[in-house]
């Protein structure tokens, strides 16, 4: 039987990436091709200029098709943007069976009940993620099927975003034209790309710092405990540098890549920073200390913002496998040193696991989202084939209308 390749589209603020891959056994993904173009018309992960963005998506898609030799008709798309929020809703149902034994239908209905929430008309649900089941109101179990209780409860995390912005992103792919299979949030994709199964059990937080957004998703006890997206990313560092040193964005971007750091280097503090000729006002000495100060306080603030979101319920202590950084900004030198100081847990740069066919890309943190999206695609389609099973940690309820 021929396996149909999946296509994954990551419309990022700095790059638009299209990956084509086929699933192998054991959660392994073989990448057949990748297209990558510098973004245009995207700001903070959201479409601000539809036509420009469309041109770039088409170009990246064309590259991916050419390299993979596949003809792409449908694709998965990762969603990001500061408008995404989560809410945890608890639902419970009485178990009417005389033996009080919990059946698969009971689990299905309690998850559906807990996942049903009246959101304001401008909000759209993207995921319903079952976190825990409760038997007779006691904190309980991973799989309640076959157990006995008079009441079954479930905590379901609902990820929702601004309806028109989600639709705009989806419309981008539909206009290409592509059929949109599903739209998971980018944080989930990055986590899928880099986390080993045992890391989810021990607990881990994945922070994907891209150009325009910072997406994060944390597992504790094999359950998604926290997720979110902030409208701040590497572009903010670039623009802070451009503003502070009065230079163009391009020069600032190059400086960030070559000399930026998350922690000020005292030994270089007073060294003169050589700006390219014509960049910035003449006769001005810019010191490396200034560049370091600008970049370090911005990244410090970004991490502090994430910390505020993840420190409730002593979650930080439950990330036994630490924090894993992905996204282009993960290249910033000494990021993990700073993060260890801020979060107080071990930090490292993430690398997509179990990927073949594209070894160079799989080792770089900026490809985590698009590669994780391929894994999401392969799992989703497998689940569809197996009938709509409920097990697995992201039960898909929301579907893009076609």
């Amino acid at each position: 039987m021929e396996i149909t390749p999946f296509a994954a589209v990551d419309v990022g603020t700095s790059r638009i990436r299209v990956a084509v891959g086929i699933p192998r056994e054991d959660d392994h993904i073989q990448v057949l091709g990748m297209g990558e173009c510098i973004s245009s018309g995207i700001m903070k992960g959201e479409v601000v200029n539809f036509d420009k963005a469309l041109t770039v998506v088409r170009a990246a898609l064309e590259q991916a098709e050419e390299i993979s030799g596949a003809s792409i008709k449908s694709a998965y798309m990762a969603l990001t943007g500061g408008h995404f929020q989560t809410i945890v809703n608890r639902g419970s149902i009485p178990i009417l069976d005389n033996n009080m034994e919990i059946l698969e239908e009971d689990v299905e209905s309690v998850v559906e009940l807990a996942g049903t929430l009246n959101l304001p008309p401008d909000r759209e649900k993207v995921h319903s993620i079952c976190q825990h089941y409760f038997l007779d109101d006691h904190r309980a179990v991973v799989n309640p099927i076959g157990m006995e209780a008079s009441k079954l409860g479930a905590d379901v995390m609902i990820v929702h975003g601004n309806r028109s912005r989600i639709r705009n992103a989806v419309r981008l792919l539909k206009t290409v034209p592509l059929e949109v299979e599903d739209t998971p949030v980018a944080g989930l994709c990055s986590a899928l790309a880099v986390l080993q199964p045992e890391e989810k059990v021990h607990g881990a937080l994945v922070i994907d710092i891209g150009g325009g957004t910072t997406d994060f998703l944390g597992y504790a006890d094999n359950t998604i405990a926290v997720a979110g997206s902030l409208g701040v990313g590497g572009d903010h560092i670039t623009k802070d540098i451009a503003c502070g040193l009065r230079i163009s964005n391009d020069v600032a971007e190059a400086l960030k890549e070559q000399r930026g750091t998350a922690i000020v280097d005292m030994t270089q503090r007073l060294q003169r920073l050589d700006l390219p000729e014509g960049a910035g006002p003449e006769g001005r000495v810019v010191r490396i200390g200034d560049l370091h100060a600008i970049t370090s306080v911005r990244i410090d603030e970004m991490l502090a913002m994430v910390k505020v979101q993840v420190e409730k319920d002593d979650l930080l202590q439950r990330f036994g496998s630490g924090i894993i950084f992905t996204g282009g900004t993960a290249h910033l030198p000494r990021l993990t040193d700073l993060a260890e100081k801020i979060f107080g847990v071990a930090c490292r740069i993430g690398k997509a696991r179990d990927i073949s066919g594209l070894t160079s890309a799989s080792t770089l943190p900026e490809y985590a989202t698009v590669l994780g999206l391929l894994r999401f695609a392969s799992r989703t389609s497998r689940r569809r084939e197996n009938g709509n099973g409920l097990m697995g940690w992201f039960s898909r309820i929301w579907k893009v209308s076609t």
């Binding site: 903010h236 623009k239 503090r269 911005r298």
Partner: protein, 399 residues
């Protein structure tokens, strides 16, 4: 210039190259006394220089190095409480002071306010240091309440000027001194005690920033604390020994008179605690101290912990704290500019460097539009699209 190398008391640098170079200066009578007391406190510490206009006082000062300032202005006679003279004296000698500041990253300045040399000279000195990209942390002592009104008013003026130039000011009220020692003890004993506590703080910071502690605080942390403080900090010290050394050190710290009996810790938006102890210090003790301090602080406070081992402290634990002032932190947060006293500034002969944020923005190429077309990212009332360094009031060197 009367630097006194002849006495052979030049500070000896340790072999390891320090990560951050720190200098401690004492200015004026009180400041010189303080730093010479401090230099006796440690076996190895930052280089110390005492500055004064009064040659007689300097002659009797046993700081490792002394520097006469304003020879032509005051004719070695001191300022007799005239802040204008103090300023002129400093301006006269500023070049030789700049020589001392070469290659320094952080300047600790101890100065007593109310008189002429300290109050008048400090702003000029700090301005020069700022221009040399040196971070400045000033420990000022305010006059006793029974001293003359003139001294108190002068001290307030000087404090205002200093706090606008220095990166951070730690204010010590002399009135709090009496609580440091027995009622029987003399005032010299109280000063010595106070100097010892400040010395412990400076020494801990010097050790942490120059080398490495077992729990590290670095320059960025210090700067972050200083920024959150809005310029004014409090300081406290507590020591404990024996089996119950952890609880007694924490209690002593929280009851420290300079910390308003612990209120300065419980209300501070940010503070830094350093633990100095003998080699027997355990991880559990560190954690015990952290937990106790955390439980008596605001839940949202930013805490910086450092810990160093000092063999001299065998069996004892010393805690030093620098806490951001609640009021000034709030002012800096809401961008309220502390009301200016232009006459006072002119008197000090300095230009203000801590520009209010609005003024800075006028220079900047409209950062607000950098993300035009997208919804602004807001967090805790702040517009995150604005550069962080502007919101945190970081001064860039060429501005």
């Amino acid at each position: 210039m009367n630097a006194d190398p002849g006495l052979g008391r030049l500070f000896q640098h340790p072999d390891v190259k320090p990560r951050t170079r720190i200098l401690l200066m004492g200015l004026g009578g009180a400041g010189s006394n303080a730093v010479s007391n401090m230099s006796k406190f440690w076996a190895e510490g930052p280089p110390v220089i005492a500055l004064n206009t009064d040659a007689q006082h300097l002659a009797g000062c046993d700081a490792p190095r002394v520097l006469q300032i304003g020879e032509n202005t005051t004719h070695l006679m001191g300022c007799s409480g005239d802040m204008n003279l103090g300023r002129q004296a400093m301006q006269e000698s500023i070049e030789s002071i700049k020589d001392q500041l070469q290659d320094v990253d952080i300047l600790f300045l101890a100065v007593g306010l109310g008189g002429g040399t300290g109050g008048g000279g400090a702003p000029v000195l700090l301005q020069a240091a700022h221009k040399m990209h040196i971070m400045t942390l000033v420990f000022v002592t305010m006059p006793f309440s029974y001293e003359s009104d003139t001294r108190k008013i002068q001290a307030e003026h000087a404090l205002k000027n200093i706090s606008q130039i220095a990166d951070a000011v730690v204010v010590l009220q002399n009135d709090d001194l009496i609580e440091l020692v027995d009622s029987q003890a003399g005032i010299q004993e109280a000063f010595r005690k106070s100097d010892e506590q400040v010395a412990a703080t400076i020494h801990a910071l010097w050790h942490l920033l120059s080398y490495r502690g077992i729990l590290n605080i670095d320059f960025t942390d210090l700067r972050s604390l200083v920024q959150k403080s809005g310029g004014i900090c409090h300081f406290g010290y507590g020591e404990g020994k024996g089996a119950s050394r952890v609880p007694s050190a924490v209690r002593a710290l929280l009851e420290s008179p300079y910390l308003a009996k612990g209120r300065a810790i419980s209300e501070a938006p940010a503070f830094m605690i350093n633990i100095t102890a003998g080699p027997e210090l355990t991880m559990a003790e560190i954690q015990g101290i952290m937990a106790k301090i955390k439980s008596s602080s605001r839940p949202d406070a930013d805490l910086f912990f450092g810990a160093i081992i000092d063999p001299a402290l065998r069996g004892r634990i010393a805690l030093t704290a620098i806490a951001a002032d609640t009021v000034s932190a709030r002012k800096s947060k809401t961008n309220e500019v502390v009301s200016e006293d232009d006459a006072g500034m002119e008197m000090a002969g300095v230009t203000r460097t801590k520009e209010p944020q609005q003024d800075l923005l006028a220079f900047a190429p409209t950062p607000k539009n950098a993300f035009e077309g997208s919804e602004s990212t807001r967090f805790r009332g702040q517009d995150i699209d604005m550069p962080t360094y502007l919101r945190r009031g970081i001064k860039l060197s060429f501005e």
